[in-house]
């Protein structure tokens, strides 16, 4: 499929140039490389102004504001016009670093219909690193270019003249009502709840028709639009035999004569369409659906929410003070403090200097630092644990979740059984989701303790990178019998688990082991010791004790 990804990216970019207002933009998932270079080189060929922005762009650059430096130099207010003032194509590399705040502002800009379009380069390395969902939702297209071979990247963008012609043609392009109904029904079949999706498909189909120089949307346009708009939003795969959706006419009488033929053709086309989109679905969608997980792209908490994690409490008001080399000066606050006195000082000193600062004007930045906490629950759902007290373990986790809610911690749940471990719930604050995923966790199979620990460590590492302080709560009977490779055998499994436990300890990750075995004993206690964490046996540990221990471990 990837050899066509390039073509689709080009197609999408052309459509975006034709109708930027209605389509919003495109997310190109591509890490730096020759293909990425090629597509970036192609961008200037698109007509219209284009600007590069970066994920840490501030409000004044985006929406305009006072240019403090120029104002000081010239002695009068100098305003910078923001990027939002003039419609342009905004190109944003490292889009996976965009935080919720910027996503919200860009979304607001798109919603206001200022005629901007966005081209985001998502350079995420991990599946979890994506563009915030709120922004993704407002952009029509998504193309993953990571697997494109450079040799297949042949197709070029249409000539500027062709794009202009298409743009002129666009207002006259009509979409037949059946086509509209078909696209909407298709979105529903792929489990896409948002109504923005069919709207984008509609606009995209029109743009494709205009590019082909036609005034009527045809099947090829619809297929191309559906491929580009629906594939990454899908949350389910349509049934094998799609129910004959009724794109019914209001007056069946008028068209009764040819209805038979038309219907048959319509059904056939609909099947082709479903096949086309299905072929582009992310390969792991089936697998994720089988595990009851939603696609990370279409739903879920988006990377922005998590990355915002380190809230530092509130930035405290800046305070007068002396620069001692450690403190950071708050320039704006300093200027603010000095500003009202400038006239008087100038007169007093009889100078023309534009800015006179006294040490008493200096304001220092202060922050109240407080990281959000992340509780990683690693739950052993193996046969041995399940037989014993998987349900009790689930109960304990639920209770802990409720306490996490009170403390406004983030939670993540990892389950391990059979061959390996699985991230059931990426870090989130939504407890309803946490509970749902947990109760859906089946029991049975071996105990891949090493895999569970490894997944936890990986998640904790990632969370740390985002400014969260992670802690691990491990619920297991400690009887590892599946090694990291997925093979059985107790000694190998135990060796692997010990090695990773040592690694976790070396990383300084707080850990807590809750023994869920029927007869709590040696295995888990050793594990706790290896982890350098506390040990509790579920039968004896009451909720209060566990909760106290967690709180203590996290403080």
């Amino acid at each position: 499929m990837s050899d066509r990804a390039w073509d689709r990216a080009i197609q999408a970019l052309a459509a975006l140039a034709v109708d930027p207002g209605a389509l919003g933009g495109i997310v190109l998932r591509a890490r730096v490389g020759p293909v990425r270079a090629l597509i970036e080189a192609a961008l200037p060929r698109l007509p219209g102004p284009q600007t590069r922005i970066h994920p840490t762009i501030d409000d004044s650059a985006l929406f305009g504001g006072l240019n403090v430096a120029a104002s000081l130099a010239e002695g009068r207010a100098v305003h910078d016009p923001g990027l939002a003032a003039t419609p342009a194509r905004l190109i944003l590399p490292m889009a996976e670093r965009v935080n919720g705040a910027l996503a919200a502002r860009l979304g607001q800009m798109l919603d206001a219909g200022t005629g901007h379009s966005l081209i985001l380069f998502d350079e995420g390395a991990e599946p979890e690193e994506t563009v915030p969902a709120a922004l993704m939702e407002r952009l029509a297209f998504f193309v993953d270019l990571n697997a494109v071979a450079i040799g297949t990247a042949q197709r070029a963008l249409p000539a500027p003249g062709d794009l202009d012609a298409a743009r002129a043609l666009l207002p006259t392009v009509a979409v037949p009502d059946e086509a509209l109904a078909l696209m909407t029904a298709l979105a529903a079949q792929f489990g896409i709840a948002s109504l923005r999706a069919p709207r984008f498909a509609w606009a995209a189909a029109r743009a494709f028709a205009a590019l082909a120089g036609r005034r009527l949307v045809e099947e090829a346009d619809i297929t191309a639009a559906a491929e580009l708009v629906y594939a990454h939003r899908a949350t389910q795969i349509p049934e094998e035999a799609p129910p004959p959706e009724p794109p019914q006419e209001d007056d069946p009488g008028a068209q009764a004569a040819e209805a038979g033929d038309d219907d048959a053709h319509q059904d056939l086309f609909e099947e082709q369409l479903i096949e086309a989109v299905r072929a582009l679905l992310p390969p792991d969608l089936l697998e994720r659906l089988a595990h009851g997980r939603l696609t990370t792209n279409a739903r879920g908490s988006g990377a922005g929410d998590v990355r915002r994690g380190n809230r530092r409490g509130r930035p405290l008001p800046s305070r007068p003070g002396r620069l001692d080399g450690r403190a950071r000066i708050d320039v704006v606050a300093t200027l603010r403090a000095a500003a009202p006195w400038q006239k008087i000082r100038r007169r007093a000193r009889d100078t023309k200097a534009r800015l006179i600062l006294y040490p008493s004007d200096i304001r220092l930045k202060r922050f109240e630092k407080k990281s959000d906490r992340l509780l990683v629950f690693a739950v052993d759902a193996s046969g041995s644990a399940a037989a014993a007290r998987l349900n009790e373990a689930k109960g304990a986790v639920e209770m802990l979740l409720a306490q996490a809610y009170a403390r406004r911690d983030h939670v993540a749940v990892i389950g391990f059984r059979g061959q390996g471990a699985e991230l059931l719930l990426p870090p989130t604050r939504s407890l309803v989701q946490a509970k749902r995923r947990l109760s859906a966790l089946p029991g049975g199979g071996g105990t891949p303790l090493a895999a569970g620990l490894h997944a936890s460590l990986h998640l904790a590492d990632q969370a740390r990178g985002r400014g969260l302080s992670p802690a691990l709560v491990l619920l297991t009977d400690g009887r590892a019998n599946v090694a990291l490779s997925g093979d059985g055998g107790r000694p190998a499994a135990r060796a692997d688990a010990e090695a990773i436990a040592a690694g976790i300890r070396a990383q300084g990750l707080m850990a807590l082991v809750i023994d869920t075995a029927i007869r709590p004993g040696e295995a888990s206690a050793t594990l706790a010791a290896n982890l350098g964490g506390q040990y509790f046996a579920l039968p004896r540990a009451d909720s209060d004790a566990i909760s106290r221990a967690i709180t203590a471990a996290l403080e």
Partner: protein
Amino acid sequence: MSTPFPFSAIVGQDEMKLAMILTAIDPGLGGVLVFGDRGTGKSTAVRALAALLPPIKAVEGCPVNSASVAEVPDWVSGSGKRLVARPTPVVDLPLGVTEDRVTGALDIERALTQGEKAFQPGLLAQANRGYLYIDEVNLLEDHIVDLLLDVAQSGINAVEREGLSIRHPARFVLVGSGNPEEGELRPQLLDRFGLSVDVRSPDDVETRVEVIRRRAAFETDTEAFLAHWQDEDAKVRRKIVRARKALARLEPSDEILRACASLSLALGSDGLRGELTLLRAGKALAAFRGAKAISMTHLRQVAALAMAHRLRRDPLDEAGSVTRVMRVADDVLG
């Protein structure tokens, strides 16, 4: 800025539309919280409502939209004496907004250039007598939430910073939207919203097709579409204006007061805020329907709007609280 989509052309989502109309009739209801998936028309509805509402009369050039010259705060300079009609303000509060921008701060521009200590009004000033819309309210930074809570309750924005000591009226209808899957809202903020609505994407294909059809028509020929819907919009506007006048005449009977109280008790909601809102919402609905008095039917219709988000909530409870409210409402209101 593009033209907003007409309010009456929004397909379905009747609960959300009703809640918004009620707050337009009685701004004292205390705002609407719309929770639901993306792409269900939340933002569209808010913007459409603002365009639908009758314009307000405000002092020319007044940054806080004062209704009369006497009400213009003393720190305002350069406002006129005349009253001019303005569209009802709708102010977007973006995520990641700074405190300065919300409350207003020292006007650094004037300070730098004229050496004056002047106040630059923020979003709260702009939103006075209008709407403050927060998309993804559940992801809003905590310190901004605290600030909003305080102002929303007192109706006054007090700024004490950088040697400024300023206060100005900030009475607005708070409209928040968000997706519950992405995080919970603090109970303190939840309770501060008068009404709450859960919106869902329509699940039958015909309705969805109709949504897209109208949207397509709107985008292809905006003017014709607006012309087609303007009568409907005008009808709703007239009903809102009439209802605002009728509001003062509606007096709740003892029976209605008792019903509100017992419903609130039966649901075990904290404080009196719930039953007061229930009563006000019922009153606004009666006024909107052109009824002579508030009836049990009115109360039942607004019960879920006013009460669903006030139930003492088990964070792990998945059962819809709307269902709980309706069950109890059926029992109590008979």
